[in-house]
């Protein structure tokens, strides 16, 4: 069944039309990757889907609930969470504290102000579980600003995972990573359970083709093509967009 449905979405900044009549469907369990050259509107699309930016036209539906027009914080409530292209963390807090915040967001006791957060055992357990799974457990006491870039990039994903989303929007999860880190991260993404649907923006074509079930090409704010990886790979026009005729490899 369709988990995320974007219909006729348009977004403009003053006279500049960044997204034009974009429609997109992501099925449950799918790994859907959005590609496109710089300036195609990919991040803006994410911002519009999650409500970070108000949209001019169209609708966004998650799990049969229409969320377009609602404030950004409601996205998590319907099971959608996201990461950012540029690390967007709590830099002066520790890794553990970062996760506490992420986990606390959906707890019924999030407004509690008379009991320390580290007395809530479920928060502690979930933190431990996630950190161990993502190999950051030994970093838990570190202030985030002191982590390596790759570790911060992982934490970026981890924070989004903490709310146990049905659909996760990853905005260039491997951007800026070393080749080794990229491989590791790709593996982690591949190993995510199918109960989490993924919508991913990615530039690195090796990563794209190793995770994607389906690819949407965005060009000049419009959906240029959408299809299975093989179709995209073989499409001459897509190569044209990217390289003016080169081969479809590292972007």
């Amino acid at each position: 069944m369709t988990l995320l449905k974007v219909e006729h979405l348009s977004k403009s900044f003053k006279a500049l039309n960044v997204l034009k009549d974009v429609s997109l469907e992501v099925r449950e369990g799918e790994r859907h990757v959005v590609i496109g050259p710089n300036g195609a509107g990919k991040t803006t699309l994410f911002n519009c889907i999650t409500g970070t930016l108000p949209i001019n036209q169209g609708t966004v539906t998650v799990n049969n609930t229409q969320i377009s027009g609602l404030p950004a914080y409601t996205a998590v409530g319907v099971g959608m969470s996201r990461t950012f292209q540029k690390n967007n963390l709590f830099g002066s807090l520790t890794v553990e504290e970062n996760l506490h915040l992420a986990i606390n967001a959906c707890k019924p006791y999030r407004f509690n102000f008379f009991k320390p957060i580290n007395k809530f055992t479920d928060v502690l357990e979930e933190t431990e579980h996630l950190l161990k799974e993502w190999n950051l457990w030994d970093r838990r006491d570190r202030v985030v600003n002191e982590l390596s870039y790759g570790e911060q990039r992982l934490l970026e994903v981890l924070l989004a995972l903490a709310s146990k989303p049905k659909i996760l929007l990853l905005d260039e999860p491997t951007s800026g990573m070393s080749p080794a880190e990229t491989i590791q991260t790709t593996k982690l993404i591949q190993s995510m359970p199918r109960s989490i649907t993924l919508l991913v923006i990615e530039h690195d074509m090796e990563v794209v083709f190793s995770i994607a079930d389906r690819i949407t090409v965005l060009h000049h704010g419009e959906v240029f093509l959408s299809g299975a990886p093989e179709e995209i790979k073989g499409d001459e026009r897509v190569k044209e967009i990217y390289f003016g005729g080169g081969t479809l490899k590292h972007a």
Partner: protein
Amino acid sequence: MKNRPLWLNLVLLVVLAVMPLLLSSYGLKLGSEVLIMAIFVMSLGLIIGFAGLVSLGHAAFFGAGAYTVTLIGDHLNNTYVLLLAAILVSGILAFISGLLFIRSSGAYFLMITLAFGQMLYAIAYKMEDITGGVDGKPVLATFDLGFGAIDSRLTFYYVTAVAFAASYFLLRVFISSPLGKSVRGIKENESRMTALGYNTRNYKLVVYTLSGMMAGFAGGLYSYFNEYISPDLLNWMFSGQALIMVIVGGVGTLLGPAIGAGFFVILQNYISSYTERWPIIMGLIFVAIVLYGRGGIIHIVSLIWNLLFRRKNRDQNMQHKEGTGIDSSKSGTSV
């Protein structure tokens, strides 16, 4: 290391309890004033240091508490009811004003809270029939917790000491609670908090309301302490002084603002007995702190502390700063 807050708290309690042995009668009075101001300034420190809401109208809530006790106290002499009323009235004021202001941030928030405080000031100033206008009003209610009227300075000192300790521990728990941590997260990175699913405006509103209630509580105590109130308690000058006390003491810490309050109340008392030019001296202190202060008294103290006792484990200190909230909040004020 981990129980540093614990023994710090114990030291605090002991100091509060032993103080009267060292103080003269006048010193006791000054001590009570310091503690009441400390509660007020801590409440402001909470929204500035932990939520990043820089208000220049916090005296509005202090004054509202003071006027509540005084005005209702003319008709009803029950300390519990009056203090509760002070907390409630300030809380409601804070809630309503917060509802309107909290979507503004940075300098805008500052100006709007300033104007709000001045509005209350002007009303208290102009409504002479009820408030006594510029001349102010004597406080008729007597402080009585059910054991007879408390009028000795020593007893009242202990009352304020208990009130201060209670407020401090409440805040200590608050900043480590889910709500307190969330507020801190919002200050640190609001956009991420929103992405994580937090309706950040609600969190700010709650902490703003709580802070207003605490300021109102301090104001209520102040009416009993001073036995006379005037519109100056609502004035932006007073708000500004409280803001200064927060900054002088150390933004982003709990005890810092309280220390700042003590520093200023005592200094003002001392200097005023020598010269009328206290405002100039205070102004010069402000300027000096901006140019040479580097984060307030508590930072200087903790720096010296670390130099003396913590040389070996500087690494751990870096983390520890986190836990106690002594940290980089200075740079985090956004516009």
